[in-house]
Subunit: 261 residues, 2 copies
């Protein structure tokens, strides 16, 4: 059972304004909730689950002593943002990822490359980039303050639990690069071919989906780079997340893969 | 002005069942409609535009003699699937991309690699892969018959007009590979490291978002490959479109980029 008031409170969290007021966000689905329970169960404030979910996952919630509200499929639909909600929805506490000052000194760009996302707007793009960062061992990424919200439901879902492991800092580019003297790569139209450059660890700036890198950040870039297209191609650009994946893969290959025989 | 009946007819096309009945689909937004008008204006059956759109694009529609219905912003909202519709919506004829028999003989896998998407389900993933294929000069890709619909609104939007240039064939894997004797790569968990393999032109099979490559297709793969992860990584997989981008980039680099000095 879930009260009308609870339904209202949970649904409010689909909006950033109310998330920020309460410092709470929503995570949905069997897989992500399993990861939260296993890795950081204290994040969970309230867990709403269906009967089917408990039949399959009673061990998990019992082992970790997670309290839950048993609700019907119809009730889950009333609080979920998904067309076909998947057994469980958790209201979670903010994990305090946003505090740049804490971590500025921690990240060593000379040991590992990372990304600065300049005004990324699509929550799915941000989430899928976080998932990829985790895959390639990038423990921290950076976003401009106007970028989409890490706590957006779609970001959390697309990250598939990687938000538990990759730290997201919202800050100005100049704050990140003021600390040290590493290369600042920027994905632009007429930069050096990524496949032919000897890439180094540093920071890689990725621009907004429509407008690229902001004017005032362009001047901070020391190494403009480009993913070359096939000859005669008519597609003007790649999706921002896809471009990030390709660039990340090439940095990883050059810097962290044994040389091909 | 738009009649109630027209609103109903257009909205029906948000569902595959009605698209297939009428052989019609929807394309939305200034950018995609500009590409359709410039590249294949005959695709357009009906064009609905707002006053603002006509103020900016009157030359484009006049030059190409495109008839249009002028509608209000509120009317556009009634037929659009988008939260913030962007000036224009076109009802378009199917472009007959689905007919495998036509093109089976056309594509030469020894000259250019391509992808077979095995049960890809997310329309955004399919669209963004089409956009990327166009970027890297892949003129044709292949999907299993149960894959998501090319004419889904989200696929069309995510492809950003690349659906006009990349042919999509729905067919069984065995039909594609029966014709010739090229390598059949498959993205799996324990394959060869893509960065350390000498890759050749051929077909690359990408599995479903949750379940990977179907059992009966696994046996057809001659070269299992893997994107290596960082040591100790905890993310189980990459998003299917991101994995496709990374693999495509590596094939492109090895096969079509001049060797790095």
């Amino acid at each position: 059972m879930i009260s009308k008031n609870q339904i209202k409170e949970v649904n409010a969290l689909h909006l950033k304004k109310f998330r920020d007021e309460d410092n709470l966000f929503i995570a949905e689905g069997v897989k992500i909730i399993e990861e939260i329970i296993l890795q950081n169960p204290k994040l969970i404030k309230e867990l709403f689950v269906t009967n089917d979910y408990i039949l399959r996952y009673s061990n998990l919630v019992t082992d970790k002593k997670i309290n839950y509200h048993l609700i019907s499929d119809d009730e889950l639909k009333k609080i979920s943002s998904q067309t076909n909600p998947n057994g469980a929805l958790a209201v979670c506490y903010y994990f305090g990822n946003n505090d740049f000052e804490d971590s500025a000194a921690e990240f060593n760009f000379e040991e590992k490359f990372s990304f600065y996302l300049d005004d990324i707007r699509d929550p799915g793009n941000l989430g899928t980039i976080i998932r990829m960062a985790d895959w390639f061992g990038i423990k921290e990424i950076f976003c401009s303050p106007n970028s989409t919200d890490i706590y957006n439901n779609k970001t959390i879902q697309a990250s598939m639990g990687a938000f538990l492991r990759v730290k997201i800092n919202y800050c100005e580019l100049k704050e990140v690069i003021s600390k040290s003297n590493f290369p600042v790569y920027g994905a632009v139209i007429n930069g050096a071919n990524i496949y032919q450059q000897a890439l180094k660890n540093g920071l890689i700036v990725i621009g907004n989906e429509s407008n690229g890198i902001a004017e005032n950040n362009l001047s901070l870039i020391t190494h403009p780079i480009t993913i070359p297209a096939a000859a005669n191609n008519k597609t003007e650009s790649l999706n921002a997340a896809m471009a990030t994946a390709i660039i990340c893969s090439e940095f990883f290959r050059q810097l962290e893969q044994p040389i091909k025989k």
